[in-house]
Amino acid sequence: MTDGAEIHARPKIVGARIKRTEDPRLLSGTGAFADDRQTPRVLHVAFRRSEHSHARLKAIDCAAARKAAGVVAVFTAEDLAATVAPLLATSRMKGYHATPILPLARGKVRYVGEPVVGVVAQSRYLAEDAIEMIGIEFEPLPVVIDPLEAVKDDAPRLHEEAGGNVIVSREFRRGDVDAALAGAAVRVKGRFRMHRKTAVAIEPRACLAEYDAGRRALTLYSATQVPGIVRDALAAALDISGNDIRVVAADVGGGFGGKGSLYPEEIFVCAAARLLGRSVKWTSDRMEDLMSTSQAFDEVVDAELGLDAEGRTLVLSADVVGDVGAFSIYPWTAALEPVQVVSFLPGPYRIEHYRGRVRGVVTSKAPTGPYRGVGRPISTFVMERLIDMAAVKLGIDPKELRLRNLVDAKEFPYKVASGIVWDKSGFKECLDAACRAIGYDVLREKQKETRAAGRWFGIGIASYAELTGIGSRISVAPGMPINTGTETAIIRVDSTGAVTAAFGVASHGQGLETTLAQIVAEHLGARFEDIRIVQGDSAAVAGGTGTYASRSLVLAGGAATLAAQAVREKVFNAASHLLEAASTDLTAENGKVSVAGTDRSLTFREVARAVYSEMDRLPVEARAELAATKTYDPVFGTTSSACHVATVEIDSQTYEVRIEHFVVAEDCGRLVNPLIVDGQVHGGVAQGIGAALYEEVIYDDQGQIHTASLVDYLVPSACEIPPMKVVHLEMESPTTLGGFRGMGEGGTIGAPAAVANAIADALAPLGIEINELPVTPERLFRLIEAARTSGKQ
């Protein structure tokens, strides 16, 4: 693209390690998180939540709670039925069933933690006092816990009207899988299990519906990644005009997908505010967050890989059961996570024959939804384990086996058996760079010594590719009720010369106020510090969704580029009259318009004053508002890829896994801000290490959640996360404006597989496979004991 060439000629803002605009307020405690807002006379909500996994609601007695001190109102589902219409996460997928989304459980409860009654009181303390006084008569129903039981025809049903517990299924097929498997020289297979995770943003969810009595309008301040989606959904559910409901996500304390869906509590506070004519707020405590925020990564995968005698991957077959929890989450649907597992399972490898079958099954657990990586942490874990298992069987080094099978530079664009197309990205280059950075060959030598000494030291590689910055032609669930494929920028220079750029994205830690301002500064020629980015606000643009799916920099960056260029043309048009020069002779840089090769120049402020205020300086036709709105659609999106390499040593007494080195070599296209890219990779890897070793949502056989505190759900601390080295291969995307690729999720995609492979490699002398994550000390102990017992026989 011509644009890219222009930037390379003067690299100074895009590509620079600029310190973040967001930091000063967040470092001084003056940020604006949802719970920080001080609203006069605000009322507080506490929810009485279900203590049953699956039960009919026979009777609810709220009489005592209604009379409790400080209580203003108590609502059940029946009380809200006339105010709130149910929402459906629609999809055109065959056999799909959408479960209605409501603010409170109606008729029955389907997971522990589902909100049943909402108490609105003068303070949260008083609201919590009152929920203790509510009497609920539950009629317990058979729980639906094990997904492999729940798929059976005679299993108890969670949603009677769905006709079964499988609410979505899909199959991808290319070639002749059975014949190819039969003819394969080497076959490796296994049952792989990734246990349920949850996002654990350090800020629990929170939402505040501020009521404007004069206009009967609402502003919802919510800890959400998707203010545009929430606005549109609430307007529909509550039958409010879109300009009477605005959703603002000012500062959001992390999301990782957990804040990427519409939640019952958001509907509740808005409905209650309308009914009471008062502002109403709910702030989750950690137990509520762990019980009711969307969970993820809960799949059982039976997979088999066939290779020829030279180690060429020929054929892959997989059968996936995804435990989607109690509801099909809005707007993503229950298809989001499990279908991505089979879409991405073939990974960055050349595989001709493929069959990937998936079933998404409801269980009486919290709903699953998007979480950093979505499906690909599991698909990568499975595929990378199969590659390593094949390497052992073939006696080929795991790095070499990957080099033989990764899609080569000459083969792009490459169509994956599931239909995805990889555009040119550095698959092999990443593998080479990561192995070089960690000193792979030296480490293999070291391993010979550690093995001789009886130590459990292992090296694990994980290569993967993902689609990012996805455009309008690709959708995770065809017929979803939203458009994820475009992004709009509105840029204007005001009468003081200051620049405001508004977007539909919603940063929650990614630093988009900084990176988008870098792009605007570059293309408009404005001063970086004169640019204000407006985002996280449904009123910012006419139609927007938010920040998720590694899309924001690619899509909003593209829109920013187009709008900034359009505004610069208008600035040049006005300035050409003022400077008496042709537009084509003008340049803009650092807030100044200059006539090339002369000392004649004007500041943006001077141009703006002439356009808006000093009516004698310009002819009418040169006074066009210095503003533009542009929408960008990358149509298909682009490929991002990386290779992770980890080394581990396992303590033979405690079974603690210690990660010693961790290297990531990644291709995220052109970097806007390397400081921020490094931070994203580090954070993603830390979550991937959590998924590999520590994090697991545990439900017992009665559907009670055993990980409802941070003592039980283990988030890694600074001691568990190793120092990391990140290598950037800046291979510009051939398909996106600016050459950017998305990179917000990759760290979490590669790390679980790399750690799992390193552990399996460390324990190779015992012949142990790692097929289940997280690899807790207890699981390791059992595996090693079993291997030793069978070895003795």
Partner: protein, 160 residues
Amino acid sequence: MSKTRDITVTVNGAVCRRAVEPRLLLVDFLRGELGLTGTNVGCEQGVCGACTVMVEGDSVRSCLMFAVQADGCRVETVEGLAAPGEMNALQVAFHEHHALQCGFCTPGMLMTAIDMLKKYPLESDDAIREGLSGNLCRCTGYEHIVAAVRAVKAKAAPRT
């Protein structure tokens, strides 16, 4: 509702007198009564460290302490680290090293780091990680936070 008790707490140098319920948590007192919303609540169980403040010069979890227990005490919060519009050395280091992303754990991280920089030699990165291990961050992977603390340590005690 229980009866209130009168307390006097000196917060960031300002003397604050309030009548509070005995069950009011210190963090809710700071946020709700005083409007000092820089201190965040992450878990209310003393695990995540987001609510860390200084009481009488020591870092404490303000979610595990009642406001009445702070009666007569000196409390420092993130708002007191520097004058408005300014940053102290640790805040500057966090800014330079990109040691924060969403910023929610950051006030607690800063208060913990100030305490450990004051009290411990922190001679290795492992020691810094150990010192930070009571504060959870879900965004950064800790690498840049460790770098920021290391940088402040190095400036405070230059090696010869």
